[in-house]
Symmetry: C2
Subunit: 240 residues, 2 copies
């Protein structure tokens, strides 16, 4: 039986989603909980990695198990074993055709910036910038929409195909918070944080909105500017 | 010259305000920053302690220094040396008559409970309870207002005088959050957390509002019920 989980985590204390030696990851903590229930190692598959200290409101993963338990019981059992900063929001039985990574249709990331007074309580959960020109940022973000080669907006060549499609991108002001949303078919390593970093530079009048087109054309990772900090970034939703 | 500071901190990673051996405190971190500026040990005096993992929106402290710097420069210098979870909100020169602890007229504490869905991002900053009878809690909190012997609502006999006056106490619902406010001339150790714990028991129908009067009369610490967790508690404001 295959199970699909929607999982939420506060990434502050974790070195990213993916299991790695000597540093605590979400995957390791999740699979440790799974192992206690299943009494054997069970592999889980997520929609993709998130970087160190990045958060998730709606990461999706799947795993297979023959244990005869209702989804609601799986949820209770897992949540009782998980630490307070990782939480299963929902769990459901799903067809074997489903794969948390390969079945992804689109992903939504959101990035939050505190543009009001500095506040210690938002520090792990938002970036902090003053005097951003929000109108310029709203003008600039439209340049990212569409199908582009995102080489300039990624950190390492990990994939040969650096073309991605962003179907929507917009900025909303919620009082003291700026919420920046990107929806697309896939995102390269650091891509959201580099796009946000570029928007911040534009908000600070260090770049212009139309510079984004030149950066796309250059296809040059050396022109990559600011990478926004991980604490403001949330994997918000994965669509299948 | 005496300086009065209003200081905000996220208590998650600290073992309380007061300096103690081998465990990191707000006071130690603040005085370390002060020492770098003053090039000597300088003692600071706060309005009172806060317990491990308790937060402050408006803790007040004072210190003396002969260094000739404007308050705004003190603020910048200290904030540049303090970690991101401790922040000086304001600093002003003040008369030598002022003492952060002995001049206190009243203090305001607030306690936050998430009564909506569990959310990992609120975990360090709110308690979490479902199905609380809020009307009963609102009825109950009024019993705390006035001058009482708070023996039953404190943890240790540290002061001979256990009489305190609560001038106002009320509960406000903000969407998914319950905000419980206590304003009074002083609070015994764990007093706010024990009062909130009692309100939670009343919200869960384990106690009745009128039980508070019996608990006051009993003056018996063994009858102290639930102590609410520190993560929901904020020293909100100190009045002089």
């Amino acid at each position: 039986m295959r199970y699909k989980c929607i999982i939420e985590y506060d990434g502050t204390n974790y070195y990213g989603y993916q299991r790695q030696p000597e540093r605590v990851s979400i995957q390791e903590v999740f699979e440790n909980a799974l192992k206690i229930i299943c009494k054997e190692d069970v592999k889980s598959f997520a929609s993709g990695r998130t970087d160190a200290h990045v958060h998730a409101k709606g990461q999706v993963l799947h795993f297979d198990s023959d244990i005869n338990m209702k989804p609601e019981s799986w949820k209770k059992a897992l949540n009782s074993l998980l630490p307070e900063d990782i939480h299963i929001k929902s769990i459901e039985g799903i067809s074997d055709d489903f794969h948390a990574r390969f079945s992804v249709k689109s992903k939504e990331y959101r990035y939050f910036i505190n543009i009001g007074d500095y506040d210690v309580f938002f520090n792990n959960y938002t970036a902090y910038f003053k005097d951003l020109d929000i109108d310029k940022m709203k003008e600039a973000i439209k340049y990212f929409i569409g199908t582009h080669d995102f080489t300039t907006f990624s950190r390492f060549v990990e994939k040969k195909d650096t073309t991605r499609t962003i179907t929507d991108a917009y900025i909303i002001e919620h009082g003291r918070f700026l919420e920046i949303t990107f929806i697309g078919d896939g995102f390269l390593k650091y891509m959201v944080r580099i796009m946000v970093g570029t928007l911040i530079d534009i908000g600070l009048h260090k770049k212009k909105p139309e510079d984004i087109n030149h950066l796309f054309e250059a296809k040059n990772r050396r022109l990559t500017g600011r990478t926004a900090s991980p604490n403001g970034l949330y994997l918000w939703k994965v669509n299948y």
